[in-house]
Amino acid sequence: MNCDFVLTTCPYCGCGCNFYLQVIDGKAVGVVPCKTHPVSKGTLCIKGWNAHQFVHDEKRLTKPLIKKSGRFEEVSWDEALDYTAKRMLEIKEKTGPDSFGFLSSAKCTNEENYLLMKLSRGVMGTNNVDHCARL
């Protein structure tokens, strides 16, 4: 059996508590609080204590999907990304950059928000990018 404890940040509210995600043989199985963290100081709320539970849920999406004649079909990453890139560039050409919009996410990392913002502004050419801070 291989057991690891990986220090990371809780995925829930903005407090930013850190905890150790307990990993046994490649599976996230539990959460241990971090005593030295300036916010959580060794405690967690009920959401934090259970933050590993949804990770391996069987309903997780595991394959890219394209809707064909109203039904989702599993496709390869190449097909999904080629198709997405093609449709986005078509829209940019046909109706202009500002006819497209991006919703970024307060649940993704800084790096991911940066890349989505760069994709919107630098690739599609529109400032139509927002997220749910106002919601």
Partner: protein, 538 residues
Amino acid sequence: MAGLVASFGSGAMTNSIDEFEDADCILITGSNTTENHPLIANRILRAQEKGAKVIVIDPRKTQIGDLADIYARQNLGSDVAWLNGLINVIISEGWYDKEFVSGRTEGFEELKAKVADYTPDKIEQISGIPAATIKQIAEAYAKAENGSIVYCMGITQHISGTDNVMSLANLAMVTGNVGKRSTGVNPLRGQNNVQGACDLGALPNVFTGYQAVINDELRAKFEKAWGVKLDGKVGQTIMEMMNNAHDGKLAGMYVMAENPMLSDPDINHVREALENLDFLVVQDIFMTETAQLADVVLPGTTYAEKDGTITNTDRTVQRCRKAIEPIGDSKPDWEILALLGQKMGISNFDYNSPEDVYKEIMAVTPIYAGISYERIENETLHWPCPTADHPGTLFLHSGTFSRGLGALKSIDYREPAEMPDNDYPMQLTTGRMMFHFHTGTMTRNSPALHKEVKESYVEVNPSDAKEQGIVEDEKISIASRRGQIEAKARITNKVGRGVVFIPFHFVEGAANVLTNPALDPVAKIPEYKVCAVKVEKI
């Protein structure tokens, strides 16, 4: 955040979480702190143990309201009125900080004239808070050595949201409670990286670090860094995008890990908008209500399967560390975006790791420039942190405000967009609860949390329940001008007479079928916290 930018010049929590413990008075409004920011609530309660007065002003008497030294229930959407009332008392009693007001702020005489009309007796009529309680709160906050204000979406999700925030900033400035330890105006961010998403420029008007897209010099900097030409006009907000999609003026959308089909107001309108798009891409970890409407669904990963950084509510940049391999064929969101950028023919989208991306962020973002992966292994760093040897910034606006002088704004109270009438005689307010989070994508798929509360509910005041013959756990109908849902009644004094509360986490009995999409004119935040409804037995 627009309110704090107007008042102070910077839209973030002014002070850090660690400082709460040493405040003498903490005024909390529109925040259900113990349920939604439990570990911050712990620190506030520790301050209380050390002698601080905790004041809670909220339409619901939540747990933190029960524990408070002073609790007041205001009428929904009456915040500008009671805040002006507090300032009225503080000025007329001479409890304001004359030195701070004259040295660090502008607009005092106008504010003084404005709040002169907001006498405690008048406030009692508008807000329902007794005049004596207004005076008691004013005295406790103004006379504290270090007074801290904490607020959350109960303040911002109104058509007067920006006005509410500027009024809180007025209160802090008039009493000199900003720019020093354990004081300030502190918005608590609801999701783990709302602060980061704002900091990284996932907003229609700014690049990273709040660098405005309309500023030619800053735009030129990004054009040089990215090697592309950039547009200089402000983009559309989420609500504007939805309205444009609805009217056929937006052809496509890319949605990353958001579920507007449950989180946005007036869900029926959102569905029509998204169905009207020619092309919708959704990148998420579950088949959400929004993903079901997509043309392409891209499987991202959870926090456990990726590296990166996350910025919490007090501006601390922290690490997210990969603990397990991605599930199935899913990919970390950063990798999906990098691959898509390359497919779209852009050469500088070739990243090998999140740290690669982060180094680019540091290079173009002055407030993050001194915060490296290496430093945060051992240090707690709050932005702004402009250089590699800068210690970071615990509290903002020390000595001077980001905008120079603090702006005291003279503001009048306005009624919410939709008040009760004969057809819809009651009021609805919405929010979160302890065991669930946002649209439930994570928590409703976590057995231990789902077990605690499995379905939507509606809080009804005992007098209203009695009048209509509604009993505990009875399924009742709640309707607004926009739609109708059913939910089980919880009869409780948490809500006042004439007000019901519904959490928005649940797709069955979704509160946002009912909510009013009327927007704050500046921040474009919808008025989730007040609309008119009728409540009936089925």
